[in-house]
């Protein structure tokens, strides 16, 4: 069964939200928080955000971009893009199955 567990413990769900946010373009921390609240209704705390960012960066799924100010923008790496695609495909299959079963019951 597909789950939000990316092998990142309690940071799995925030990490997926970050990846989806960055799929819309490079963003710095505050923009990510705003965007995530907008697309999912989830309000990530700054500590949770950076716990997940550190893990995603360490796994080479996101990377920092050169910055002109103290804010640090991040973007998806190619590996991050493929990883997100795979996760979303799994979730899509899961959602389709769930909806089909609901319709049949």
């Amino acid at each position: 069964m597909p789950t939000f567990d990316l092998g990142l413990g309690r940071f799995s769900e925030p990490a997926l939200l970050i990846l989806v946010s960055l799929a819309g373009g490079a963003k710095h921390g505050y923009s990510m928080m705003e965007d995530i609240t907008h697309i999912s209704g989830v309000k990530l705390g700054p500590g949770t955000l950076y716990g997940a960012i550190a893990r995603l960066e360490q796994r080479n799924l996101i990377e920092p971009l050169p910055s002109e100010d103290r804010r640090q923008p991040y973007r998806l790496t190619e590996a991050g893009r493929e990883f997100l695609q795979m996760q979303l495909n799994n979730l899509e299959q899961f959602t389709t199955t769930g909806l089909r079963r609901l319709a049949a019951s």
Binding site: H28, G29, P46, G47, Y50, A54, R55, Q58, R70, Q72
Partner: protein
């Protein structure tokens, strides 16, 4: 305190490697937030996470750089638990009817003496492996003017001074209250305060030392060497447990009524020491298995 100062104070709680990588951008993010209780709690959780998982502290940390460190520190912690249980055993025997029987020779005498000698061997082996690592960490801390390391390495000293103050203060209060004849409840209270203080001091000292060694860049060769004293310590710990079991059986035969009163304490001590020995054994085995995998 201004918001900037509060944010700077929060950032100081993070490990230095994490700060080197994320401090600037995280400060900027926090300055854009209202620092309410939920945000503060979230940041504190992030601080704990950063300390518990230094591998996610950015490129300054190279994962797997020193694979020997974690098992050897786990072995050290297990040894300290073992020592604390051993001190509880000493407390059980000290100033008790067992002493008279032990002075007369026999199995109880030999069990005690051999166990004490083996306990000394565990200490020597632990010092042989651990002291060089602590000294190198201390030298680095002075050389690089690392206040965080110096503070952590000074924690055992602070703990010792605190214990002296607590013990000395208690004795002074008793003397000022006019005598040595305390009621039973008073004596129990003092013993409880002393014991709890001692355990807290031990935990603080061990945590400080372990954190300092984790944060310092002590060379891998010292950790590799420490595997050998580590295995000697573990073997001696196992023999000490055997010696205490032997002592218990002998005590049960020599003074059955007295030992019946101490049975629960003795069983608890043996269980804790055996568990600590198992952890130390796994840690020692792990350090050798890492060596086999990497060489």
């Amino acid at each position: 305190m201004t918001k900037q100062e509060r944010v700077q104070w929060l950032l100081r709680l993070f490990p230095s490697a994490w700060r080197m990588r994320y401090e600037e951008e995280f400060t900027e993010l926090l300055l854009q937030q209202r620092l309410g209780p939920f945000v503060l709690l979230d940041v504190i959780m992030c601080v704990l996470d950063a300390h518990l998982h230094p591998e996610f502290s950015g490129p300054q940390y190279i994962p797997g750089k020193n694979p020997y460190r974690a098992p050897l520190l786990a072995g050290f912690c297990a040894y300290i638990v073992f020592v604390l249980a051993g001190m509880a055993f000493y407390g059980m025997v000290d100033d008790s009817p067992y002493l008279k029987v032990m002075h007369q020779g026999g199995s109880l005498h030999w069990a005690w003496n051999i166990t004490a000698d083996l306990a000394g061997l565990t200490l020597l082996a632990m010092l042989a492996g651990g002291v060089p690592i602590v000294l190198v960490a201390l030298r680095q801390a002075f050389k690089e003017k690392r206040k965080d390391l110096l503070l952590l390495l000074a924690l055992p000293l602070f703990a010792l001074v605190s214990l002296i103050v607590i013990y000395g203060g208690t004795i002074l209060i008793i003397l000022l209250m006019g005598g040595s004849h305390l009621p039973q409840s008073g004596t129990q209270l003092i013993v409880s305060i002393w014991s709890i203080s001692f355990i807290i001091a031990a935990v603080v000292s061990v945590a400080g030392t372990c954190l300092a060694i984790t944060r310092s860049a002590v060379g891998i060769s010292l950790f590799k060497f420490a595997r050998y004293p580590g295995i000697i310590t573990t073997a001696a710990m196992a023999l000490v447990v055997g010696g205490i079991v032997w002592w218990g059986i002998s005590a049960g035969e020599a003074l059955p009524q007295v030992f019946a009163g101490n049975l629960a304490g003795w069983v608890a001590i043996v269980a804790v020491m055996a568990l600590a020995t198992l952890v130390a054994g796994f840690s020692a085995a792990r350090s050798f298995s890492i060596h086999n995998q990497t060489s």
